[in-house]
Symmetry: C3
Subunit: 337 residues, 3 copies
């Protein structure tokens, strides 16, 4: 695809070379995100960081990514505006807000809203999540993390073996990741969930049509024995009739250090879209994994900054100029990741 001036709305718009191009650019962002260097390539540019649904993590990640390219950020959090709260059309909102910035990130609770907004915008729009529909930068950062973790282990996205564990029915992130995996060859996926929370049939079918080797299971320990990646997701108790029933599932799909050691191959990577459950007695990823060097959950969020920097650089067509506007930093950076 042509990135310059494009909206980034859905992972469906990417072919495999597009994904690889994003990842190559993301790799080149590393010295900037790691504070070895500073670039001012987007000095004077403005991001409209429009979060009509709160999300501190994603909002700050996009904002920091834009700052790291030298740009400024104007933003909104929630439906504070009387105009939008009063039901102003997305067309009008988009026409107005796109006059205030060079690129917009939008999150909105309604499915399809970001695409509708983008159609009226005069500047590129990046989908920061539209309800349960799409959140393309999350899917990209997940796949980018898998690629990077595997590269450190001498493996690649081809012939990847991955187990996805937890709520596969409602989890937007696993749906999107599965679609992206369809762009690669020889991928094996084990889907581990309670029966009530199985991956929707049409997604499984699409995965098989795309050439993925898909297995379904409700047994955690056997399923994680021969994979490169365990991608865990939260069992959301609000989806069950009682807390007791929810606890039953949570108990069964709980990964901790002893389950990991007893079942996984050495160096199996552990991922999670966050937040993980914080209740010590019922969490899907135990705190005792925090010192396991294969726990990649915070490398995922770090990588999110790289991927979002790449998306901004691509749609604003400055990916090849980042280094020309750069210098080394002069403040404290010891101990940075």
């Amino acid at each position: 695809m042509q990135f310059a001036g494009s909206h980034i709305l859905s992972i469906a718009q990417f072919e495999r070379p597009d994904v690889e191009h994003i990842f190559t650019v993301a790799d080149r962002m590393q010295p900037y995100a790691h504070r070895k260097r500073v670039t001012k390539v987007l000095d004077g540019a403005i991001l409209g960081n429009m979060f009509f649904e709160p999300s501190t993590r994603t909002r700050v990640s996009f904002g920091s990514a834009f700052n790291l390219l030298g740009g400024e950020v104007r933003e909104t959090t929630g439906f504070e505006s009387s105009a939008i709260a009063k039901g102003e059309s997305l067309y009008d909102t988009a026409r107005v807000l796109s006059g205030y910035s060079d690129v917009i990130v939008m999150r909105h609770p309604a499915e399809g809203s970001v695409a509708e907004f983008a159609a009226a915008s005069r500047v590129p729009v990046l989908n920061g999540g539209d309800g349960s529909n799409e959140h393309p930068s999350q899917a990209l950062l997940d796949l980018y993390t898998i690629r990077k973790e595997l590269a450190g282990r001498g493996r690649g996205l081809e012939h990847l073996r991955i187990a996805m564990v937890g709520d596969l029915r409602y989890g937007r992130t696993v749906h999107s990741l599965c679609k992206l995996l369809g762009l690669f060859q020889g991928v094996q996926v084990v889907l581990v969930s309670p029966d009530e929370l199985r991956m929707p049939g049409e997604i499984v079918e699409a995965m098989r049509e795309a050439g993925l080797d898909v297995l379904e299971s409700d047994q955690l320990e056997a399923s994680i024995a021969h994979v490169d990646i365990v991608y865990s997701t939260r069992i959301q108790e609000e989806r069950f009739q009682s807390q007791a029933e929810a606890d039953l599932y949570r108990g069964r799909f709980r990964l901790n250090q002893s389950v990991y050691t007893a079942n996984c191959e050495p160096n199996t990577v552990i991922m999670h879209p966050l937040p993980r459950d914080s209740r010590n007695n019922a969490r899907e990823l135990d705190d005792d994994l925090n010192d396991n060097p294969n726990l990649a959950i915070f490398r995922q969020t770090d990588n999110g900054v790289l991927v979002r920097m790449a998306l901004f650089a691509l749609v604003l067509d400055v990916a090849d100029e980042v280094d020309r506007h750069a210098r080394d930093v002069n403040w404290y950076t010891a101990g940075r990741f």
Copy 2:
């Protein structure tokens, strides 16, 4: 007036040369707002964008305008602060906040609050709206838009013919615009509203004293036949006893493409302070006008950035230095307005 270091609180403080000076400076901001060039004239300066009443649109417009001059923005949205919520005096709030920035934009729900705040501030304060009282940058951007649209049609603010349509009783924007029009010669104004929502008598009287030629009407079609500008405003249903009654008025003052074609002179400009009503069956400006090149409602909001840049440059006394701190941009701008 002397702009450097002044507060901008009310349109009453402007003489005609002041308005023309603001507009001349706003014109010179165009290459920066249109992203042909970047200036750093306010590099290191801080705007305190203090919105004690939410307004995404106005807040982001002011913030972007300041960023476009190279400055930084610190801001607040709503009465989050316990200090102000607990009833701290505006005097104390102003003394404190003016130590944190070089200029402050303030919006506050109480009439007169911004002037009281400004009296205690140690830096220039721009009124971003104090209840139903004043919102001077909105009136200025409306008049600036009229001037710019007419210039493209070979006409000027002298001998302007304008129809104002809708809720003229409560609409702060039309009140302020009418006052500003009093600075020019030979202006004809047709006020079109339901009887219950007529322009307040004292404003009509003041307009006539200022030399405006004022007509009042409750008929849309005849009133828009011989004007340069139709300035439409929303009929607010909360002002009526029943929704059915409100719908009646909305139905009568609805401008769409066929009403426009059947009644208006060619190239009659359509304006609106936004938001426009979003209900398709009862809106004062129909969606079918969106492709009409004379619909200027989004050029109004674009112009708001220019006018606000001009106000900042004037009160901080850098209007003549903007170009000296400038360079061309290096990011994607194709398709920008």
Copy 3:
């Protein structure tokens, strides 16, 4: 202490030379905070200004201080994030957010939360207030103000005489200030409060062990007769059984111009952590003091910017490089403090 890369969590971590070093650096920040010069020493650096409890004043002060050093600010206000609201652990939140910025300021309602957060953060964390526990930058700016006010009067922190007035039981700021005063020699403190709101016994004891000369009193006028500083705090009516009872105390500890003139030595400095009570008939610091040049309450908040700039410069290890990245300003600054 070693500042570079350190967290600033509690005043207990400072020795006297540390406090003096912070103040020396703060002094050097004056031309930047007073807009005589602009520095870009932190150009490209990002502050994560994470206020999980609202506080406009403190949040904007930290943000402006970082901007004044040339850095960018990403921020959050309140528990908007579903992740943290859903009970994500502080460990996870810290691991994630510290990937987005170079330094974090955190305010959180729970005591001890900021220290727990800092333990997991990969970048320096400054405590912006954790419940009733610590708010070290406030204590530092108070002491810095005392030092600066006294220097202008030919006196120093040694042999300081200070009266603290009002709610000494729950006031976090007076507790912290008393601890800091223990680092200096020959300090005399008069604690003036209603009996129900006396300074906690263990703090009084610790002050005496640290060598302070401490007197307790419930009489305002005699207590402020021979001091260099009157540090007043708000009597919080929510702590009393009835408003009438609260008003009784407020009436007794009210400082106004005539009480000041009748009792205080010339040039006695008046301080307050703000907000002061805004009810004219019952406030602890009367409006008629606003023109008294010894009223230092807004110099306190101005000094807060200097102290916070110093803390950022120290933990990011650029304190000695601020001047090397500086230039004079080119915008309006007449009338600045």
